[in-house]
């Protein structure tokens, strides 16, 4: 058994304790404590520059956590980054898509880099679900921002991640897209997935059963309680 895994942390999907981050002298996160369990959606609200995207980058393993601890599915992410990446999907401001590849090729590329064996039928089914069936064999460079976002989100149907990290997921989506995304997220949460999302849009998030948090001055405060969350 992996020594970093313990039974208490196994029940949680993600567990952050005392996480701090700074850019040079500027302290962005000043001690973040957060626990997310299966079927939970945590939404991060906050002004521009409050550190929401930084926190998501830390959670995605893109940035290294230097102060504090982060456990994902019981794994100490600092020492098990690769295993952690198998369990999460991050869709940020960038969609991480290649313009010269088609939708199908982009999804297959994603699958191969995450050790997924995906049949053509499965890929086409995922594209159908996100409303891109007709654009399956078209190069992504001609896609609108909304289509790119849908294609990026189609990856979650393929990898079925334990933790989904979303940075402003509603941006670029039309009202139909917002409705579709919320339905997909609700299904995902019902199946035991966990979501941490940064958003400026409380109205659109309202369709999800979620725990809202405010990120301000580097501290994460649960909005219901009005006090910083403790581990």
């Amino acid at each position: 058994m992996n020594p970093t895994v313990n039974d208490a942390s196994r029940r949680d999907v993600a567990n952050l304790t005392g996480v701090r981050h700074r850019y040079g002298r500027h302290q962005v996160l000043a001690g973040i404590d957060l626990t997310v369990r299966r079927g939970e959606c945590v939404v991060l609200f906050g002004a521009n520059g409050s550190g929401k995207s930084t926190l998501l980058s830390l959670l995605s393993t893109r940035y290294t956590i230097r102060e504090g601890s982060y456990h994902l599915d019981g794994l100490d992410v600092r020492h098990h980054g690769q295993e952690a990446r198998e369990r999460l999907l991050f869709v940020g401001h960038h969609t991480h898509l290649y313009g010269h590849l088609t939708s199908m090729e982009n999804l297959r590329f994603y699958g191969d880099l995450h050790g997924l064996t995906l049949s053509e039928a499965r890929l086409r089914q995922a594209l159908d679900t996100v409303g891109l069936a007709k654009a399956a064999d078209k190069p992504v460079q001609w896609f609108s921002a909304g289509m790119r976002k849908r294609l990026a989100l189609a990856r979650m149907l393929l990898s079925n991640p334990l933790l989904l990290l979303l940075d402003e997921p509603y941006s670029a989506l039309d009202s139909q897209g917002v409705h579709w995304l919320n339905a997909m997220l609700n299904d995902y949460l019902d199946q035991g997935g966990a979501v941490i999302m940064a958003s400026h849009d409380p109205e659109r998030v309202a369709a999800l059963d979620h725990r809202p948090h405010q990120l301000a001055r580097g501290i994460l405060i649960p909005i219901d309680a009005g006090e910083p969350e403790t581990a």
């Binding site: 995605s60 393993t61 893109r62 940035y63 290294t64 690769q82 295993e83 990446r85 198998e86 991050f90 940020g92 401001h93 960038h94 969609t95 991480h96 898509l97 290649y98 313009g99 010269h100 590849l101 090729e105 297959r108 590329f109 994603y110 191969d112 880099l113 995450h114 050790g115 790119r148």
Partner: protein, 221 residues
């Protein structure tokens, strides 16, 4: 892991062939260099044979630099490089995928320019072509290996092409000298190729052992 390496390399090569971006630039650059050299020196057969090793490697080096300048260009679109780093594969796999794609494009150009050089300079060394190709391949393994690492290092720099050349040229000088000497030894009777080939292999092993590890360290933030 091999599948991921292949897929990253495929993405780069297929993408380049579709856009005709890097390959056409490399070929155009290589042909221009050869034509300029031919026009400048107008060497006779004997001189051409003496010039050939340096000429081949200089052209290879310049075309490699053109390719390296663009090796991470596709990754700059829409945060694609970040997407690569979020893949659940070791960093070394990403490095080897990028390296393999660049290596294949560079070798393709080298294999095309070798016969062209022979014709342009009227060099009668057709029987030595397999050995020269083997030497070019050996040298290019290390050259593109170190080059891919340096391209990753200079990815965000404003004048990355200049920086890349400044870093790559001194660091690969021993490998280039070995490559030039190996080709020169191939073109003369009783030339001692073996020591130069051994040196090329040693440089390749050193470069390709260090660079994936250094890449992993480099991309951490």
């Amino acid at each position: 892991m091999l599948k991921a390496i292949y897929r990253i390399a495929w993405k780069d090569v297929a993408g380049d062939l579709r856009r005709r971006a890097t390959l056409s630039s490399m070929l155009f650059f290589a042909i221009s260099v050869l034509v300029v050299f031919q026009a400048a020196f107008e060497p006779d057969r004997k001189e051409a044979l003496r010039l050939l090793p340096g000429l081949l490697w200089a052209t290879s080096l310049f075309t490699t630099l053109v390719g390296l300048g663009r090796v991470f260009q596709a990754e700059e679109e829409d945060g694609a490089f970040e997407g690569l780093l979020l893949a659940s594969v070791p960093r070394g796999v990403i490095f080897f995928g990028k390296w393999l794609g660049n290596l294949l494009l560079t070798l393709l150009v080298e294999f095309l320019i070798l016969p062209l050089t022979m014709v342009l300079f009227n060099v009668d060394a057709w029987q030595q072509i397999p050995m020269i190709l083997a030497i070019l391949t050996l040298g290019t393994l290390g050259l593109t290996g170190l080059g891919t690492l340096l391209a990753a290092m200079t990815r965000g720099a404003r004048s990355r092409e200049t920086l890349l050349a400044l870093l790559l040229l001194p660091l690969t000088a021993p490998l280039l000298i070995s490559g030039v000497q190996a080709v020169a030894a191939t073109l003369v009777e009783d030339g001692a190729i073996s020591p130069w080939l051994k040196l090329l292999v040693i440089f390749d092993l050193v470069y390709l052992a260090i660079t994936p590890w250094a890449f992993g360290w480099l991309v951490e933030e």
